[in-house]
Symmetry: C2
Subunit: 447 residues, 2 copies
């Protein structure tokens, strides 16, 4: 039996798919944080290279992947599509479970898919240095890898809770030549302010973004880079779904439901978006975004204009948000600890194209251990969320022979400390209290 469907280098897609022109009702534009008017490309070009800004605002359905980017993709792409036969058997389900294994990238996650083009377009426009933030460390290591390929410097503001829990992530970034500092740090104004007020803060992606942006604004040689949320990031991730479509076709199958974990939204959108045109053409297919109960932007947040960061320095994005000053608890799926959600994923949820569910971390680790023991691969804590939702879906009715496809966004080999905590019984489930969320949402900007 064929366990996995692989594609050769020359079968790799050569264009990304941009879902924006296909979203019913479209996207609302980002707003200038000062004027509250639609953001000008000129202003954004202070922190992003034009190559990426053009993609951010593009209404083209397909955008060619530069050859230099394709060459680097081929280090690990096309990634395998795997049939989780052993997991199916352990669950006793008639459902067919497939996963797209993005853990095969050199940094162990899907983040490399956008890190490479982002470093590329910066290099093309003469940028010497990129500043960024990282949650779980996956994005920071991906960008460090990508910048090392193009000879750029890289500075990473890493959310403190991850900085402390994931020493190997720092080591990876060092190996690729990047500089890493725990966020909030003493190196930026906003970092110093927050440390003065909350010296013991675990940090958050919202804070780290503020620091990286301040860094980029303050230096002529530096631009900023974001690993999720934005349209151009989601564009780059579409290669996941484009490959998966080809592979499902080779497998002679088609998904009834597609599942992915949701932090900023890039991994689920990357897998889902290339299937959206089929959905709009009447194909029966469900899309399920899975978020942690401790940071439930899609399921308990509000669709509104909000800042992407704590310092209110980003453009206002129209998205599901828990409020920009929401600081999520230090759960271990650091990559899912973000107050907002990509405008594209938010629009898909708004249009009832995508469903959203929330799950608890202990059940996610249980699912991850079952996956490791059956399929042999240890998933990242973030990915465990998608696996948990997949198991729920596959066991609702054990006799339903539906086809499930989920995004295996990354392996967990660099995050084993989280598994140690799970095995020791130190982990707790956490529902973020509604009244706390109401409080942070009261600070949404008035538009």
């Amino acid at each position: 039996m064929t366990k996995k469907i692989i594609l050769r280098d020359d079968e790799m897609p050569t264009q990304w798919y941009n879902v924006v022109p296909d979203i019913p009702g479209g996207l609302k534009p980002p707003l200038d944080p000062e004027t509250k008017q639609p953001m000008s490309a000129e202003k954004l070009s202070a922190v992003f290279p034009m190559g990426l800004l053009e993609q951010e605002m593009s209404s083209e359905r397909f955008i060619t992947i530069p050859e230099e980017v394709q060459e680097i993709y081929k280090i690990w792409r096309p990634s395998p599509l795997v049939r989780a036969t052993s997991l199916e058997k352990a669950l006793g389900t008639k459902a067919k479970i497939y996963f797209k294994n993005e853990g095969v990238s050199p940094v162990g996650s899907h983040k490399a898919n956008t890190a490479v083009p982002q470093a590329y377009y910066n290099m093309k426009e003469g940028v010497k240095r990129i500043a960024t933030e990282t949650g779980a460390g996956q994005w920071g290591s991906a960008l460090s890898f990508a910048t090392s390929k193009f000879g750029l410097e890289c500075k990473v503001y890493m959310v403190r809770v991850s900085y402390d829990q994931k020493p190997y992530r720092k080591s990876m970034m060092h190996t690729f030549g990047a500089e890493v500092v725990a966020s909030p740090s003493m190196e930026t104004k906003i970092g110093r302010q927050i440390l003065a007020e909350y010296p013991d803060t675990p940090g958050s992606l919202g804070i780290a973004i503020s620091e990286a942006l301040e860094d980029a604004f303050s230096r002529d040689d530096t631009k900023y880079s974001l690993g999720s949320v934005l349209n151009h990031v989601i564009l780059h991730q579409s290669i996941i779904g484009l490959e998966a479509k080809k592979q499902m076709e080779i497998a002679g199958d088609y998904p009834d439901v597609i599942i992915g974990c949701c932090g900023g939204g890039s991994n689920i959108a990357g897998l889902v978006n290339p299937f959206i045109p089929d959905y709009l053409n009447g194909k029966k297919i469900r899309f399920v975004g899975v978020e942690p109960a401790s940071c439930p932007s899609l399921t308990m947040g509000k669709l509104a204009y909000d800042f992407g960061d704590v310092a209110q320095s980003t453009p206002l994005l129209y998205m599901y948000t828990l409020g920009h000053d929401f600081i999520p608890p230090g759960i271990h799926a650091g990559g899912l600890r973000y107050h907002g959600m990509s405008p594209i994923v938010s629009a898909l949820v708004r249009e009832n194209i995508m469903e959203a569910v929330k799950v608890h971390q202990i059940e996610c680790f249980e699912a991850g251990v079952l996956f490791a023991k059956t399929e042999g691969i240890i998933p990242a804590p973030e990915t465990c969320h998608a696996i948990r939702a997949t198991i729920i879906e596959a066991t609702k009715d054990l006799n339903d022979p539906k086809t499930i496809l989920f995004n295996f966004s990354g392996h967990g080999l660099i995050d084993m400390g989280s598994y140690d905590k799970y095995f020791s019984g130190d982990l707790q489930n956490y529902d973020y209290p509604a009244e706390q969320i109401a409080k942070s949402m009261a600070n949404l900007p008035k538009i």
Copy 2:
């Protein structure tokens, strides 16, 4: 351009290649540690299942891979053959460098290739529990993965220096359901003896083997498993070279030199052996085994019958050895810290078919960092030895357009602590003193 050559699931070899009948002069048999006569299969069957013993003693050239093993192999196999174009460019060499990426296995190294059939044959014969040792932790995690697939219990004696330096390896083994203890431990007689004499010992593979063997001998439900050295292990690893031959053919190329790091010998033999028949038929091809200067069994040891362990409980193997009571210093390439060398690799070196070189660890980490920055993948410390030798080979004469193939035996993502030590400047090069080696070799058994 094609960066990597991949094979589909249905192109995976379905037989292993056994080099033993092709070794000029053959192999000397293992001897009974008590009688010093050739070891009987009956006695060995106390610790190994018959399925593996038959392979250990087989003179068949090809042995069919059981279907259940093939199915599990397909989780990650066939593994990619990659052209290291960026490394070539950075070196300014006209040499073509290929590597076989065994880091794609669920546990990050080639060790899974033998762990799976070993667990399989034990399961087939009704064994309930396997005891083993592990150096760097790669073998222990591979066997934990494999036993979890067949529902066996697994007990791992992990060399103390690695146990302390590599916490994530322990976590991996726990995730797969194995039990892990630092060796020497208080759980065996030999462990207690050694701890009484050397309470601060970093441990060694030789000691850990003694503990695992004692465990297996003392329990009816338990057999023993070794991750390198033995003929059946090397047989299983031949899938690396069998795939690589097919892939080089697809690439339209053939190696002038094949390189691998040497601990017990299984990864280099796995890649090299399937090319041996070509060599014996007159093909011009060099094979280079790379060992650490701190544990130089091939370059400074002696070809003799010796024990595989400190407690003198294994059969006597005819191999290059530094003496069974040699305790190598705690260098970071834990997987290369073994006093002996596989009898097969020893015979290839004896027959001048394979060359052996020794390298220093600081230069190896330098090579590993260059590889990470060029090819994007962070190598395991052991693998850095092969890369170091590859770089030496590729830069001897920059204009020589030779084709080099090396075994990328594993990635380093679970061993980043070693890179931290390298970056901090704490690492030192170490040549094991000749007079010390002479001392431990004075204790070789008299045959």
